[in-house]
Amino acid sequence: MNRRLVLLGLLAAALVALPAFAGPYALSVATLILYFAYAGQAWNVMMGFAGQLSLGHSLYVGVGAYTAGALYFHFGIGPWAGLWVAIAACVAFALVIGFLAFRFGISGVYFALLTIAFAEFTRIGFDHLAWTGGPGGMFLRVEQRETWDLANFRGPPAMYYYTMLALAAGAFALCAALVRSRAGYYWQAIRENEEAAQALGINTFRWKMLAVAISAAMTAVSGVFFAFYYNNLFPEQIFHISRSIEIILGPIIGGLGTLFGPILGAAVLTLLSDGVTELLAALGIETPGIKQVFYGLLLLVVVMFLPHGIWPPIARRLRL
């Protein structure tokens, strides 16, 4: 336990101090890592803890981003107020999906298909919604980038970095608490054997709905961050299945159902992606698409040799 706390403290200190040493490029990569770590943690609640495979988490990123973005764009409502509306909207979506699936016994790959379908038809819906700019996109005005304006979430890159750091740390703490709570144990029981869990008297419908709702609420927050970090939203980009895949790759590579897995996975994937780019540039290789080949091969190696993710063997080695 002490060893864990010391390592966590060192990591936290290093991350807090990072902007003092890192240049803007490194800071932007670090923000991206934390973003995927956070979103991966949110997805992990549903799949890693409760065993419900969602391949449509871009739905919650998109709905969260568009809700808070549109409130800011049309009514000048700040992101902190918009955040709650975004969370409510995403939870509503999640409950509808969850109800349809769990009430009618849709599970496994069929549940995954349902989540993709929802993300896809929501994308089409936003493509036709003139209020949010339709396919032409919605652009949020950026008044200033020099000083920290937390109320409107406008400021320099360091502000976004620290916000994402706080969110990732908060998600980690929340998940750590959840996994040791009654809900966490019920979810793990459902994940391992749903029929056995039901036989033990666990109301699986209720607890699965809770997992879906919490995961959606957390992902909504990442959507709000996305909206105010990038300041432009296009349905084609934000609801696309590739965004869902980006979110789930971190926890899968890092270690499904673990607390550090999503963080480590996001870091490895982002650094690997940028590292391969840098390496190829250093070697003077400019063939388009070659990076994706190398990246894919490296992922293949990780999956082959570490099928349970990178974090579990590290945790064993460090006796954590």
């Binding site: 932007s28 950026v142 320099p156 300041n231």
Partner: protein
């Protein structure tokens, strides 16, 4: 074999190192003043990879052509945005960190908006080659410039050229059936046409039916049959490449022969694959798109450089992408020449004063308005004739006379 270091060789080496150290700063200053480092961000892989690579051809030939034209040295720093907005942002940061004085790219509005924020934050000029979302230059940015039409300009110019085509060919089609892909681009174009067409009172036709379809459709039998059933005089089409090929084949199969197929501003029908796949059936299709002036002096120079680098290719199939990417770098080089500095703010001020009259693409001179947008960029009516996309309008740039109504596919 080992070589001993004597005191004499050591002293010589030390003296040489000292001299280098003493003059190095001047060397750096001279190098900085003589060379403009241009960060080129393009989607060379991913879903837009094909277009990104086409744009890259325009960037690759730019240093040589611009050296000849302006006597300016350019160093390209290429980065692949991988058709991903997150990557576009981090690559832009990386290029700036590596010393790019100006950024150019990225053939996508989402990526352009992401890069624009980095450029603005870091105070580095960013010249957009191709990206049509109007909002990008409506944000009050000071370092963002665009030498490309906005989406609404593309539609407006496309529709005006249809009017011109009817005038020149003395034809008065009364009805059109409008078919469009139902993806982001197609929806945006449909919206633009819906808003612009009622204002174009000089256009003699009305749209009798609008039919949207999936760009990934493998079969368009129903859609074409429905369009044929309207008996419209011509087909107004917003397409992409694959669906355009399927649609054209289906039209022949169903023996539907309207007065013509006209795109008011979409890709597909002027692309190499359209000709290769359809052969003679590709003939006479019309696309009204931002294009290059085939008769411009600069086009001839660029074409020569293009063929030197790509001997088995034709500029006409990359004209739009090469033209606007080359011009974006030209804008940067021209500003650098006038500013005599790589200081970003000085460069941005110089870009604002740009007035390039000898250009490759159609339209007026490259002059940025207060928002950083070039106004008056022209479109061309490009018709497929003799198995090549040829400019038929505006007359000043025409390579051939327009053919409308088009002959039947049997005569093609």
């Amino acid at each position: 074999m080992t070589q001993r270091i004597t005191r004499r060789t050591f002293n010589r080496a030390a003296a040489a190192a000292g001299a280098l150290a003493a003059f190095a700063p001047f060397g750096i200053v001279r190098a900085q003043a003589q060379k403009l480092r241009v960060g080129v961000l393009l989607p060379r892989s991913g879903i837009q990879g094909f277009i990104g690579q086409s744009c890259q051809k325009g960037a690759d030939l730019a240093p040589e052509v611009i050296r000849e034209m302006l006597g300016v040295e350019i160093e390209l720093m290429n980065a692949d945005t991988e058709s991903n907005v997150d990557v576009a942002r981090t690559r832009a940061e990386r290029l700036i960190q590596e010393g790019a004085h100006v950024l150019v790219g990225p053939f996508d509005s989402g990526a352009a908006a992401a890069i624009a924020q980095v450029a603005e934050q870091r105070g580095i000029p960013f010249i957009i080659n191709i990206a049509a979302a109007p909002q990008i230059t409506e944000q009050g940015y000071k370092f963002v410039f665009r030498n490309f039409q906005t989406a609404i300009d593309i539609v407006r110019n496309g529709l005006d050229l249809i009017g011109e085509l009817f005038q020149v060919t003395n034809t008065v089609p009364r009805t059109a059936v409008f078919m469009h892909v139902n993806d982001t681009f197609g929806q945006a174009m449909a919206k633009g046409i819906g808003a612009t067409l009622p204002q174009r009172t000089h256009l003699p036709f009305r749209i009798v039916e609008t039919i949207s379809y999936d760009p990934a459709a493998k079969d368009l039998t129903v859609e074409v049959s429905k369009a044929k059933g309207t008996n419209a005089d011509f087909l107004l089409l917003v397409c992409r490449l694959n669906d355009a090929i399927i649609l054209r084949r289906e039209m022949v199969k169903q023996r539907w022969q309207p007065m013509g197929i006209i795109s008011p501003g979409s890709p597909g029908m002027y692309e190499e694959q359209y000709f290769k796949t359809l052969g003679k059936l590709s003939e006479y299709s019309i696309s009204n798109v931002p294009w290059y002036n085939p008769n411009a002096k600069l086009t001839k120079i660029v074409e020569k450089a293009f063929l030197k680098r790509n001997p088995n290719d034709k500029l006409v199939y990359h004209g739009l992408n090469v033209g606007f990417t080359f011009e974006a770098i030209l804008v940067a080089a021209d500003a650098f020449k006038r500013a005599k500095s790589t200081d970003p703010k000085t460069l941005a001020d110089a870009i604002r004063q740009t007035n390039i009259t000898e250009k490759m693409t159609l339209g007026g001179p490259i002059k940025f308005n207060a928002k950083g947008q070039v106004e008056g960029i022209g479109s061309a009516c490009v018709q497929n004739l003799d198995m090549l996309p040829k400019v038929v309008l505006p007359r000043a740039a025409a390579e051939a006379k327009p053919v409308f109504p088009v002959p039947g596919y049997r005569k093609a």
